[in-house]
Symmetry: C2
Subunit: 167 residues, 2 copies
DNA sequence: TATTGTTATACTCTATAACTATA
DNA sequence: TATAGTTATAGAGTATAACAATA
């Protein structure tokens, strides 16, 4: 199996599978398998969203704003695991593109309440169709039950995995 | 529940869970769950390997060299999903630290065959003990069966997920 | 004194183009 | 003409420190 139409230098890529390489303990390491799977899925996401110029983090912010209008920056960024300091330019971009909006808060003159604009809501509707196709591609590989099982296991890994913690 | 001894600015962190935020479709998106789980596991990896100054990619290279002595750079980098161009400085570091070695190949004067040095092999033995503890932490959360199931599902997601592909 | 948002900055990862020396 | 390794570089993503305005 080596029927690959490969471009020489530009696409970089591989020298091909050769004789199958032994990954040793990596092949049963959760972190390694998680990384490979995450990269695979994100590559597909990037490819599909390139035309809309939307990245995973941006998409996740739009979703949170849709489902929780009026949240503050710290709340959104913390919920998504984004440092508030990195959240600023991310939101700047969304605001400049007319997709999200910062509004002044009455009780607290330091804070901003975040909202989706109509354009942001409209875009998100389109994005959801793309996401559905993206998700379907991978559900086709593991089945609906497989997905449910996988989500359950991943959640158990993540929850209470606050980072700075026990052993 | 807000009994957090928080340092003010430096640790950044959160404003705390507040009223529980609705992640919308994100909560059932494979890519999102995969990313959160991968970050959780990698954070633990980083914390444990900080003292040895070894990163995940470096560890993975050492493992491949151990189990496949004599491979060329392209082979190792492709097997691990690292661009050959980024592999060069990675290997430079390992070589400078005396952990890995480039040897000239007889039949091909362009290529290098890669090997672990005795120091690299010794270090890897120590690293494996750390990895075992790291892995055990997460297996404790999902059980041995859970791990087996998870690895199976992740492999099905990843394999044949070459990136540039169908729909 | 703590918090919200911000700026500036640095470091790691990843990606592309182009080169060399061999094949 | 293609391949192995390399260099240079640019762009994300992520991290820390420090500040202003406000609580």
């Amino acid at each position: 199996m080596t029927m690959i139409t490969r471009t020489p230098d530009d696409l970089d890529e591989m020298s091909e599978a050769d004789a199958a390489i032994d990954l040793g303990p990596l092949s049963t390491l959760l972190g390694y398998a998680l990384r490979r799977a995450q990269v695979t899925v994100f590559n597909d996401f990037h490819r599909r969203f390139a035309a809309e110029d939307i990245r995973p983090a941006q998409y996740s912010v739009l979703q949170v704003l849709k489902h929780n209008p009026g949240l503050r920056q710290v709340q959104v960024s913390f919920a998504l695991g984004i440092k508030r300091t990195n959240f600023v330019p991310l939101l700047d971009t969304l605001e400049q593109r007319g997709l999200a909006e910062r509004r002044k808060v009455v009780g607290d003159r330091r804070a901003f309440a975040l909202f989706l604009t109509p354009a942001g809501a409209a875009l998100l509707d389109r994005l959801d169709a793309i996401v559905a196709a993206h998700e379907a591609k991978f559900v086709a590989r593991i089945g609906a039950e497989g997905k449910a099982t996988l989500l359950g296991l991943l959640t158990r890994l993540t929850d209470r995995g606050c980072d700075t913690e026990d052993d």
